[in-house]
Amino acid sequence: MAGAGTSAREGLSDAAGPWSWVDFGLLAVRLYLGLHLIWYALVKIGEPADFLKALREYDILPRTAPWLMNGLAVVLPWIELLGGAALLLGVLRRGVPLVLLLMLATFTAAVAWRARELQQIEGLAGYCEVAFDCGCGAGVVAVCGKLLENGLLVALCALLLATGPGRWTAGWLLRKRA
């Protein structure tokens, strides 16, 4: 995360100079991440009970406070949906990538942990043989592929947190039209 001074990358992506591969690259990252998050969010928002069932499998919150788990099932998809929309628009330039990074990293660790448990429960020889509904919005998935996918998403969030959204944002469009 940048400090209070100037950021060369921030300057590069906001300046009115010629377009560069960095602009295209950051736009591609935002499109991929944003659409990915919105797609999976819509699946979960439509079926909160299904998402709650998947979340419960992790057994990460105290059983004495069901409202915590229920609340998580209600709010997390909206973090994904609004986060995806913010990435597409290029607004809340660092705050959104920070929240998404923390959320995805936490869930990636939880998926890895749960897969280890399932491997032991089911007596599977290989970790990558584990497949389960991780609550990610894609149904039953092979754990190794899911961890790789989530690792990529975490890395892309970290990139946007470090660089900002790049040149082509909703704000840039409005300034250009003004």
Binding site: A2, G3, A4, E10, A49, R56, L82, L92, L98, V99
Partner: protein, 185 residues
């Protein structure tokens, strides 16, 4: 190229806080307005009291055993389903899956009663029908599905006695695999 001041830690955290507050408000509002919304204070888990020194039940089979519910095989359910459509027989089939799955296909004569929306679905008439039934067969998807168990736990003993309740563990998956007809709404 003019340098642009980078964001400060505090502005990033402020953005993050505003964003989380917006997501919280949107999520709660949507949950309140949506017919698929869940009750935040409700405990939707199936829980069996663990015996002293024993780990808590984890699988559906362990939970059924510890909670003392009776089960039915496919053949038994098939026989009961054949007469369940006549309300005078006292046989009731309850489908504990969500409404959309029920509409796509269910055991003929079954009634949809999603335990996640029981307060909306359990009318006084339905409560009376269940209470008067001699045999109440409850099923969901099958396999690891806990919804039939959750529904049973919410109906027994307030609405019906445990002696009348039978869980069809094979569920709709086994019913379909056995080539049985499905009714669609």
């Amino acid at each position: 190229m003019l340098p642009v001041p980078g964001p400060t830690m505090s502005s990033t955290l402020t953005e993050a806080g505003l964003f989380c507050a917006a997501a919280l408000a949107a999520g709660l509002a949507w949950n309140w307005l949506s017919p698929e919304g869940i009750r935040l204070e409700e405990d939707y888990r199936v829980a069996a009291p663990a015996a002293a020194g024993q780990p808590p039940a984890q699988t559906v089979a362990e939970l059924i055993r510890e909670l003392g519910y009776q089960t039915m095989s496919f053949e038994e359910v098939k026989d009961y389903a054949a007469v369940a459509q006549d309300p005078h027989n006292g046989i009731l089939l309850l489908d504990a899956r969500k409404a959309e799955s029920f509409r796509q296909g269910h055991i003929p004569g079954a009634v949809m009663l999603d335990p996640y929306h029981l307060d909306d679905l359990l009318s006084e008439e339905m409560r009376q029908t269940i209470a008067e039934a001699v045999v109440v067969i409850i099923y969901c998807t099958g396999g690891d599905c806990e919804d039939s168990l959750l529904l049973a736990q919410r109906l027994v003993p307030a609405v019906v006695g445990v002696e009348s309740v039978f869980l069809y563990v094979g569920g709709i998956n086994e019913w379909r695999e056995q080539g049985q007809a499905l009714e669609k709404d």
